[in-house]
């Protein structure tokens, strides 16, 4: 449903994303991993229209969205969350989610009603009347997710929704992500929490230094020498292999 070809962008002298291609099939959970500074969030910004690529093209549901602004892409059915949560801090959780719900509901009452339904899906019902600023980190991550869901996306780009959560909160969040996919939404998620990526994703793509260096099933990726080197440094895969051999031998 999403086909990005040869996307590139540079900031000054830094080639943040170079020649990256990505295909996302319907109803998948696609993991996007890579070391810090690899260009993962930049890639999300390109896909969702916050940045324009210098070259390459993006086709979503057979629309060319390469140069579309974010709100137009959202209307077509793709939206993103932010790694650093960006709530409307002075507004209640209900009002926050309603902003997303207004995309398909003109009437205020309908949007507020839809906001309650979405809150129930992500477990925010008890916090509906709290100010977004007064939520815990876990609550804000859920709010970020809820607002995006309220726009009724077909493709959801999740930027580190698990970062900063404790193990219990992560365990609580994983079934929420699963249930979103089960409801028919395709998900691309940037994530550093490896257990989560391994248990959720069907396919994992690895970015390093702005290039896509590997793609495959979670298990294959975990053993890919190029991926290990990207994370742990050049030559590490070799050293690990030799260490393992000498331990066995």
């Amino acid at each position: 449903m999403l086909v990005a070809r040869d996307l590139s962008i540079r900031f000054g002298g830094v080639a943040a994303v170079q020649q990256v291609s990505l295909t996302v099939g319907p109803r998948r959970i696609v993991g996007l991993i890579g070391p810090n500074g690899a260009g993962k969030t930049t890639l999300f910004s390109l896909l969702s229209g916050f940045l324009r690529p210098e070259s390459g093209s993006i086709v979503f549901l057979s629309h060319d969205i390469t140069n579309m602004p974010p709100h137009a892409i959202c209307r077509l059915g793709m939206t993103r969350t932010f790694q650093i949560v960006q709530p409307f801090a002075g507004q209640t959780v209900r009002d926050n989610i309603a902003v997303g719900a207004h995309l398909h509901h003109r009437r205020r009452s309908a949007a507020l009603h839809a906001a309650e339904d979405v809150a129930a899906r992500v477990g925010l019902t008890a916090e509906l009347d709290k100010l977004a600023a007064n939520l815990t980190i876990a609550g804000r991550k859920r709010l970020e997710l809820a607002r995006a869901l309220a726009t009724q996306p077909q493709l959801l780009l999740l930027d580190e929704v698990l970062a900063g959560l404790n193990p219990q909160e992560i365990a609580d969040m994983i079934p929420v992500v699963r249930s979103i996919r089960a409801s028919g939404v395709t998900i691309v998620m940037i994530e550093h929490v490896m257990q989560a990526v391994m248990s959720l994703a069907d396919i994992v793509h690895v970015l390093a230094n702005g290039r896509m260096i590997a793609s495959g099933s979670p298990a294959a990726i975990a053993n890919d020498p190029a991926v290990i080197e990207a994370y742990l440094g050049r030559g590490t895969a070799d050293k690990l292999r030799r260490a393992a051999e000498s331990a066995h031998g």
């Binding site: 939206t79 993103r80 409307f88």
Partner: protein
Amino acid sequence: MRNLAGVAVFVVVTALVPTIVTSGTVLNAIILTLYALLLGQAWNVLGGYGGQFSFGHAVFFGTGGYVMAVLQIRFGLSAWVAMPAAIAAGAAVGALVGALTFRYGLRGSYFALVTLAFAEVFRILANTFAFTGAGVGLMLPLAESPARLQFAGRAGYLYLILGFVLAGFAVHLWLGHSRFGARLTAVRDNEASASALGVDVFRVKLGAIMISGALMAAGGVFYVQYLHYLDPAIAYGPAVSVEALLVPIVGGMGTLFGPLLGAVALHALSEGTRNLFGDAPGISLALYGTVLIVMVRYMPRGLIGLFDRRGP
């Protein structure tokens, strides 16, 4: 519902004042407070609900005033025709300023400075052209008749300004209960989030500045009808811009009743200083500046924060 009832009570009580009070001084004080309230409401739509701080709202005020005056004086049009034209002109100038600033993503102090510059450019233009009376200004001939929106007593003017204020309240109520209002406050609180959620930030800001400009132009219409005179310094000078922004900042930005509190407080304050210091030039501006600093430093939510303990 409570908000709607509050507005209804305020409007009915104010409308009944002329049936009880006959003192011209008192009626004049109420009219000027309502006038400040209208300017504050206009600014509050864009600044309070939309988070776009304009330092040049005079550009809309002056345009409304000049269109009102020029259409009547130069073209002999009825005041009832000139009034909607003047208000529409305010919205049109809003669209112009908004298109030029928001298209290029001007925000914060950059937006403020550009609006200030717009007001100044319009002031110089009004100073130059003969049909705006140039530096001499325009006098609206006295002809007291409701057909000309001129009234023999102050009560008529009170109802005129109250009608505008009621429109301002209607806009505020609508912002609190509509998709547009939800999107506008979303843009104020976080533009990136809003656009990720499908909000067309540019269109929302453009709508807000047009509504704001229309209300502000209504202030200009009232000024011309009430005082029968307009010149470039009054129309496009900084005094009006400052009054428009001070009222909601003192009372409470982005709230329904904040501008009302602000208008009453500021009017009481300026009356008080006039009694203390007389009409010494510049004293009111110095005072307004002090009030602004104190409010921003100690009461960022405005006077309305005293009544509403909730929130950050």
